[in-house]
Symmetry: C2
Subunit: 228 residues, 2 copies
Amino acid sequence: MRQVFHQSLEDVQSRLVEIADLIAVAIDKATRAFATSDVALAEEVIADDAHIDERALELDEIAIEILARQQPVARDLRIVVTALRVSASLERMGDMAEHIAQLARYRFPERAIPKGLKSTFVSMGERDVEIARTLSELLRTQDLRLADQIRNADDAVDELHARVFEKVLSENWRGEATATVDATLASRYHERFADHAVSVAKKVVYLATGDWAADTDAIDIAITKDQA
Amino acid sequence: MRQVFHQSLEDVQSRLVEIADLIAVAIDKATRAFATSDVALAEEVIADDAHIDERALELDEIAIEILARQQPVARDLRIVVTALRVSASLERMGDMAEHIAQLARYRFPERAIPKGLKSTFVSMGERDVEIARTLSELLRTQDLRLADQIRNADDAVDELHARVFEKVLSENWRGEATATVDATLASRYHERFADHAVSVAKKVVYLATGDWAADTDAIDIAITKDQA
């Protein structure tokens, strides 16, 4: 019975890693589609999101099955509950990738990235991809130093996010309303993507260190405080 | 023991209702602060959000305590897991109210609502308040007809959200970039608020009808598809 249980927990973990891998692929494709106005690539991301949702749903069902059949306690219980929450955050990260791809598709054949913001958005996209890959690695290895890397990359994304608004709200901004709307939404999606990753990383850290109660989403709120 | 367990589940339910009530107050204040540029009211909402987060965290701890001590199965297990998810959605609704209040504060003493969009945003705000109150009632009474009301009100919010973008992207839009950014973010916050409520309502319905597995967030994604 113990043996079966540990297999189940390992199954949960490997499924989380698998979903994180799918998300790393999705954000890589989405940000490239957005940067290069590649509508075919954007369509791929949009189609693939349903698959990510299914995988997350399957994971949730397995976690609930474990709760029902194995009735884990203490640390094992925390692992399963955390898996449910991580799964929800990963699913939202997939949504953000999809939203970025949708922006690329909506504007096609026009450029999705407003003039003057290309390098900023390319940097943001690269950071998001790096974050997604690091998150997958963190889930796989439980190497907590990776959580710091994610936090640092998120700080960089926050700075780029602020830079988008600086540009858009500066005297020199010549973009039309469409460009302003696109920049606003795209920047928010990139930034939320990174926020969700930080939230997952915190859950992994708290699970490892036992300081679970400190993992309030208040931390996420602090991070997003200056987003508007 | 059974007696104690049912008291715990009731405690979970009454706490969910309590948080939903706090959120109804928050969104009422936030949308009024936004409409009237009332910075004091905005500050209240921002300060109160930490309290909502605390209440949600307490509820999560109680739910996990129930899982650990009472090891519920079947429907009781679903109730507890659903409570954890509902708590996360309510917490995000509180964040959206806070974000709306922040927009009011940032622009003060300027008007937060861009010119030409006042009536649209007032309507959106009223719908969000209605949705929050109905959600609280749904959690209290489990009267599933209220879920339909929430869904209908969310459709109305989606239409208003689309109308904001129509205006902002029309030839006649004379707003500066600040106004365009504010309209984009504010509209998205109002719309996400309603989405989270629909997501909670679905969880309550599926819990009541037993069709739990169908409660995939894919439904939320479909709803938000056209948001950008």
